[in-house]
Symmetry: C2
């Protein structure tokens, strides 16, 4: 195989597929990036058996061929070469010579035959969504998936499509995050659970361009994201998702309107008294026109007041401050509404059209404070 | 004690003295910052027994007093408070209340009596040098001190002052780094060894301003740096430094002139084939009008050519690539001269007026490559 391409193109391609190279594996071939050069051009592939990424790069195929090169060393070499044309030339003994200007590296590659290729996906009926929108709704929900493998379903996000509405949901047993967006087209109903890792990696590769569309294809077992010159293939999580609708309720006893930044900054300050792993709650007293936030720990105590608009009853309620911070960080609204029932019932942070809903369970503060 | 000051002033002060707070210590009082408020104003102090920093901050003393507060928590609180006036109010039980707008923290402090105060230094005959110059010469030599405590003298830098010349030297057994600068005034001869850690911390606090002067005072056992509203006191390293002049020589068999960036980039690329801890040398062949650089490792090999101007003999010599990189990174010249004798003798990178000299020992490459 002999290929020629600009350093910038090769580097972009390697960085894109690198996200599917496992950091730890017992199958050393998975640590490689496959370079395939044929009449269709130059394609790079990486695959960790759960998620596979393939991207096409611009360049010239001088001689067709295929080789698997260790991802880390390939990335390091390409990154440090001058900003010029790179030639990769491999021989039958699988030695790969990488040349750029007066610099030449020789590394030993592996046969493409050993590589695990991506599953073939029948591409039909794609869901179309902008890069920006997908990246945003993933960011706004991904923090509340569970990283505990005991319940595999909680490690994924639930995606539901109904006509022109797409809903993305995550939950971890203490909280639920929901974002809804309107799509340009109408679709048949669809319910799938996509691994959180897949959504994370896809959103890292996405530019965030609001003008560019991304295509999502589904089969029974797989999801395929197609954008720019890249495809990402992942298995879906099998099983049935939790019945979210039963957990949501629009009843409330107390509704407060509060400046989001003031609340976030205050809780952020409070957490500095709490060491990692210490489950110290922040205790909120909702009064008629202000809210008092208190935290006590071995280090010291904090006390702060924030002005609010209140409807309904006064209330005292405790929360894990991290859960409030996670939700507040991904809400763009300047002023938010918080709905509460009593110190034992979930609280909701949501807007009027419910394009976002964050449910957070309170904690019992009598026993810990 | 009651003091009032702007968040920005308090934060700057805390950050400045924080550098003398030890990260690990069995004496918990050393983890504190001492705040002293009297008729002379507000002074913050930290002291890890090797290096002590004291800085004066702007603010109002409402009630004189003294308290030691845990540095980490004080820093975190001040950093996260709103950009407004902060009031610190302590009572007899050593409780400190830190208030800013509607936010109030309470932490428990310690008595100032437990604190280890800085040694009293008799300030006379200071050496005057600009912030910029001191910061630069430290950066340009500090990398070749030894971090091995077996030879305490190698963990410091040798400073020699003679009339209006200041020389700073570091060495670690494989290399020597020397920088010389001209001072504005003339001084009595002086030879001291300053701990590398002290120079590092001082240079981190320094703004790098070429217009501002810094005063250095010496006693038999201590050095004191005074600048802005801050003083840094450190013990000196006792003992006699190595006889540097005997190790320097101006004889050479080969002199090359080379573009510094090309050489640095090339060696930087070469090192990516070498894993941490692997002492693989880079082998340099000096030919008539170019230099060839080669490295071989288990990962692969690299080969590169750079154009040079050469005087004297051709030569093949091996180096630890890290030592070349360290020296090349701190040389600002676009074109540099390298002087060599033979594959076993030290090589010198230096300029004509010897304001910098980097001596690097070669490695024997026959046995390792």
């Amino acid at each position: 195989m002999i290929i020629k391409c600009l350093k910038s193109n090769l580097l972009n391609g390697v960085q894109t597929v690198y996200k599917a190279v496992p950091s730890k594996t017992t199958m050393s071939i998975l640590e490689c990036i496959l370079i395939k050069a044929d009449e269709r051009g130059i394609v790079l592939t990486a695959n960790d058996m759960e998620i596979g990424i393939e991207t096409r790069i611009e360049g010239t195929v001088v001689e067709e061929g295929i080789i698997a090169l260790e991802a880390k060393i390939l990335f390091e070499i390409v990154r440090k070469l001058p900003d010029s044309e790179i030639i990769i030339d491999t021989d039958e003994s699988l030695k790969a010579s990488i040349t750029c200007e007066k610099s030449n590296f020789t590394i030993v590659g592996r046969s493409g035959d050993d590589f695990s290729y991506l599953p073939e996906i029948d591409k039909k009926d794609p869901i179309i969504i902008s890069h920006f929108t997908l990246k945003e709704i993933v960011r706004q929900t991904i923090f509340s998936i569970s990283d505990n493998d005991n319940n595999i379903i909680m490690t994924g996000e639930y995606m539901e499509i109904n006509e022109n509405e797409l809903k993305l949901v995550s939950l971890d047993g203490h909280r639920i995050s929901i974002r809804k967006v309107t799509l340009k087209n109408n679709y048949e109903p669809k319910k799938v659970i996509i691994p959180g890792k897949t959504l994370n990696e896809v959103s890292k590769i996405l530019s965030g361009d609001a003008e560019k569309d991304l295509y999502i294809y589904f089969t029974d077992k797989h999801v395929l994201f197609e954008f720019d010159k890249t495809i990402v293939v992942s298995r879906l999580i099998e099983g049935e998702y939790f019945k979210i609708d039963q957990m949501l309720s629009s009843d409330y006893e107390t509704k407060i309107e509060i400046n989001k930044k003031e609340l976030l900054d205050c809780i952020d300050r409070a957490t500095l008294l709490v060491k990692e792993g210490d489950k110290r709650p922040i205790i909120i007293s909702v009064n008629d026109d202000n809210m008092q936030l208190k935290i006590n720990s071995a280090v010291g105590s904090m006390n702060e007041e924030i002005n609010i608009n209140k409807e309904g009853k006064t209330l005292m309620i405790g929360f894990n401050p991290k859960f409030l911070i996670d939700a507040l960080r991904v809400i763009d609204d300047e002023t938010i509404n918080i709905y509460m029932v009593n110190p034992k019932a979930p609280c909701f942070i949501k807007n009027d059209d419910e394009s976002y809903i964050y449910l957070i369970l309170p904690v019992n503060f009598n026993t810990v404070s």
